[in-house]
């Protein structure tokens, strides 16, 4: 037993230095040199301001923008730190709703979201991703179906022709790789940035 103590302690120290310090620091060094943009979170700048990460969804409330999926992320309640409050797309605390399939809370929540979709004048069957929360609460994507369903409302809010907005959505649909890997999707932040850029270009003309 005693004879095992020295190798146990020495090996913990050595492997800590090797796998806990040298390994992550070496990867960090190489990553920062070879892939600085990706290693730092794929941040997007506009006019010198960081407006988000292309990988992380953000909360859009305005009618002028396409909305992402519902998000179940929370934040500590500023009035009572033992409780949490809803904070959609809180990128400092990822997570899903964890509601089971027979949860009344889930069905009520989805029902309320559907009511909102219908009152916004959208179509008869609602896209699944439009009313369900993602696993991370930070899903940057929506389905093409959900994006197209929002096109009319966004176009109206911006006073743009609907056809133009729909065409923009079509250009932002990312297909499956080689027709197999992944799912067709639209990056909401990229779409909204393109929308802003289009509006600016038209205003400048």
């Amino acid at each position: 037993m005693i004879s095992h103590l020295r190798p146990a302690i020495v090996m913990i120290v050595l492997f800590t230095l090797l796998t806990g310090l040298a390994y992550p620091l070496a990867i960090t060094g190489i990553a920062q040199l070879a892939f600085p943009e990706r290693a730092n979170g794929s941040l997007i700048e506009r006019d010198g301001i960081v407006v988000g990460s292309s990988l992380i969804g953000q909360n859009f409330a305005s009618e002028r923008y396409f909305h992402g999926r519902p998000s179940a992320t929370t934040a500590p309640d500023p009035n009572d730190s033992s409780k949490t409050i809803d904070a959609p797309f809180n990128a400092a605390n990822s997570g899903g709703s964890n509601l089971g399939p027979t949860s009344k809370k889930l069905v009520d929540r989805v029902n309320a979201a559907i009511e909102a979709e219908f009152s916004a004048g959208r179509i008869d069957v609602v896209a699944a991703d439009a009313v369900t929360t993602s696993a991370s609460g930070l899903d940057p994507h929506i389905s093409p179906r959900f994006a197209l369903a929002q096109a009319a409302a966004v176009a109206a809010a911006r006073g743009m022709p609907e056809a133009q907005v729909r065409a923009l959505v079509e250009t932002k649909v990312e297909p499956r790789l080689a027709g197999v890997i992944g799912e067709p999707r639209v990056n909401v932040l990229a779409l909204n940035l393109a929308l802003d850029a289009l509006a600016r270009a038209q205003a400048a003309r």
């Binding site: 037993m1 095992h4 103590l5 020295r6 190798p7 146990a8 020495v10 090996m11 913990i12 800590t16 796998t19 806990g20 390994y23 992550p24 990867i27 960090t28 190489i30 990553a31 920062q32 892939f35 990706r38 290693a39 730092n40 979170g41 301001i49 960081v50 407006v51 988000g52 990460s53 990988l55 992380i56 953000q58 859009f60 409330a61 923008y65 990128a91 990822s94 899903g96 709703s97 509601l99 089971g100 399939p101 027979t102 069905v107 989805v110 559907i114 008869d124 069957v125 609602v126 991703d129 369900t132 929360t133 993602s134 696993a135 991370s136 197999v180 890997i181 992944g182 799912e183 932040l189």
Partner: protein, 569 residues
């Protein structure tokens, strides 16, 4: 279910099998002390490690000495990891200024990482400093996997050797599996992940101003280096709370497929390595095929269950075509979410790319049952192989009873002592899972942690103890595990599930190594053909259905039936 989804699944599994064969040959060389591809670069480091720790690599250990070395090493790892969490506020690399981790949570987390479980009662981005993530959690991602490999190969040597008093040297196995297998693969995989968009920085967070002018704080850090070993070592502890569902841990479908590949490839390669070590490649192949069959059945059931969508939501107007999307990411879809769920629990990884708690009842049954079977298809790094070999021992015993001959496997007679030890190991699981679950539903503090009511609540508790006992670490994450009750009981379940299981296994290794090899005769039952594969699957199914059917009937199965009749909780 559709053809594209099935193709997405088939591509990953085919790649795993194609890579596992050559990797298995490499693993066999590493664990039998032979020179290998990486020896020219790494053998000076290996020798330095032995020299500094006073280990004579030529001196082998008896099974008992091997076991004690493993236990002393694990206790030392537990102590250092516990201390690191408790003092993280005094140490450098804490850019977000986190407080020390509370005692009960630090206890739970330390056991969790030392046992290769990586159950997380904390949210990484709001609890652990970068130093804790690197020096503590990343290190044990390597070491707990290397420990698993060591124990599996001690057992493999028991079958491979005859009349040997020793089963190998724990320190050598630990060092060689880390240096020649886990570390090189992790370096390559981490860099691939960064190239595909996974961050790797020492910053704690970045701040963005959204298009609507709001502030968004985005947690970030050295993610890729931990992500790589988390999958390769079948650990599963995420850098972020949402684990591999977080877009920084897995930015797209390619990283998702690569991560599933990474968590399956070493466990499958071990089956092939086992065949080489015992000198009969067909034996390894039979094991790998059996593991694959059990895994694929689970994947298909989960995919089928998720692809149908939730009828309660379809009824009120939700499109059913994309499947059950609650708790799933758009870029992954249901097919690879089901694949990930089955693969992460078929191994003892426990990483998730979707929230298992929100799976359909039968979709969630698959990961749960995979863990109740002890994650043996293909199992954790090391733990899968030794867990599987225990089932092989039981299966040949059953076969021996049927034909009235002394059971043998690979020329080793399986006698009373081995059977008693095998049963001792196998019975630890139901004792822990059912015992602790029963206790938790009887105390108020156990029920207060539930996120869902009705049968799904029972599933949450059952899942937690299956996951921890099995050293898996995935969760029906609605359960609030960070309470004194669950930190303690889940911690104990992890410790029993690892050590109370593996000590009898190492004793079997010792007993087998000492035995003579019986020459094969015409009466020897062949253990490499389809008949044996079928027998093995039969034994596995009967063993685990008998143990767990009543509990499953009260959880996911009754939930499925109630859901069909529209009942809500």
């Amino acid at each position: 279910m559709n053809a594209i989804g099935l193709a997405q699944i088939a591509i990953v599994l085919a790649a795993v099998m194609a890579a596992a064969v050559p990797l298995g040959a490499h693993v066999a060389r590493v664990l039998t002390g032979q020179r290998n591809l990486l020896s020219p670069i790494l053998s000076p480091i290996e020798r330095l490690f032995y020299k500094l720790s006073g280990v004579d690599p030529a001196r082998e250990q008896s099974w008992l000495s091997y076991t004690i070395a493993m236990l002393v090493f694990s206790v030392a790892g537990f102590g250092s990891l516990y201390a690191l969490q408790r003092f993280q506020h005094l140490l450098p690399l804490d850019p977000q200024g986190f407080d020390p981790v509370p005692a009960d949570l630090a206890f739970n987390t330390a056991i969790s990482f030392v046992t290769n479980t990586n159950w997380q009662n904390y949210a990484g981005e709001t609890t652990m400093s970068h130093l804790t993530q690197m020096l503590g959690l990343t290190v044990h991602n390597f070491l707990s996997a290397a420990t698993g490999l060591a124990m599996a190969f001690a057992l493999a040597r028991g079958f491979a050797r005859a009349e040997s008093p020793t089963v190998g040297n724990f320190w050598v196995d630990l060092t060689r599996s880390t240096l020649y297998l886990l570390l090189p693969l992790a370096i390559v995989f981490a860099l691939v992940l960064v190239a595909l968009g996974v961050p790797q920085t020492l910053l704690g967070s970045v701040e963005a101003t959204t298009l609507e002018g709001a502030k968004q704080i985005i947690a970030i850090g050295p993610v890729a280096s931990q992500e790589a070993i988390k999958e390769l070592g079948t650990n599963g502890g995420g850098f972020f709370n949402a684990n591999s569902a977080h877009p920084f841990e897995s930015p797209d479908a390619i990283t998702n497929s690569l991560e599933i590949f990474a968590l399956l490839v070493i466990p499958f390669s071990l089956a092939f390595a086992f065949g080489r070590i015992v000198g009969d490649i067909r034996q390894g192949r039979a094991i790998a095929i059996t593991m694959m069959i059990v895994l694929v059945v689970g994947i298909l059931v989960a995919y089928w269950a998720e692809a149908g969508g939730n009828p309660l939501l379809t009824e009120i107007g939700v499109d059913a075509a994309p499947g059950n999307m609650e708790g799933k990411e758009v870029r992954f879809g249901v097919a690879t979410s089901a694949l990930f769920a089955a693969a992460t629990t078929g191994t003892s990884t426990g990483a998730v790319n979707s929230m298992h708690d929100s799976f359909m009842p039968l979709g969630g049954l698959v990961p749960l049952f995979n863990m109740l079977m002890g994650s043996i298809a293909p199992g954790g790094v090391g733990a899968g192989l030794y867990g599987f070999l225990v089932l092989v021992v039981i299966a040949v015993f059953v076969a021996g009873l049927m034909v009235g001959r002394t059971p043998e496997y690979l020329g080793k007679k399986i006698e009373t002592r081995e059977m008693k030890l095998a049963m001792l190991a196998v019975l630890v699981y139901p004792l822990c899972v059912l015992g602790f679950s029963a206790a938790s539903v009887l105390v108020k503090t156990g029920l207060d942690s539930l996120n869902n009511a009705g049968p799904h609540g029972l599933s949450e508790i059952l899942y937690a103890f299956a996951s921890t006992t099995d050293n898996n670490g995935s969760a029906f994450a609605g359960l609030s595990g960070n309470t004194l009750w669950y930190n303690t009981t889940l911690g104990l379940a992890m410790a029993f599930g690892r050590f109370a299981y593996v000590i009898p296994v190492l004793a079997i290794a010792g007993a087998l190594a000492e035995k003579k090899r019986a020459p094969a005769s015409s009466g020897t039952f062949p253990t490499h053909g389809p008949l044996f594969v079928g027998l093995l699957i039969g034994v596995i199914v009967i063993l685990y259905l008998l143990q767990y059917f009543p509990a499953l009937a009260l959880g996911p199965i009754v939930e499925h039936l109630l859901l069909q009749s529209g009942k809500l909780f």
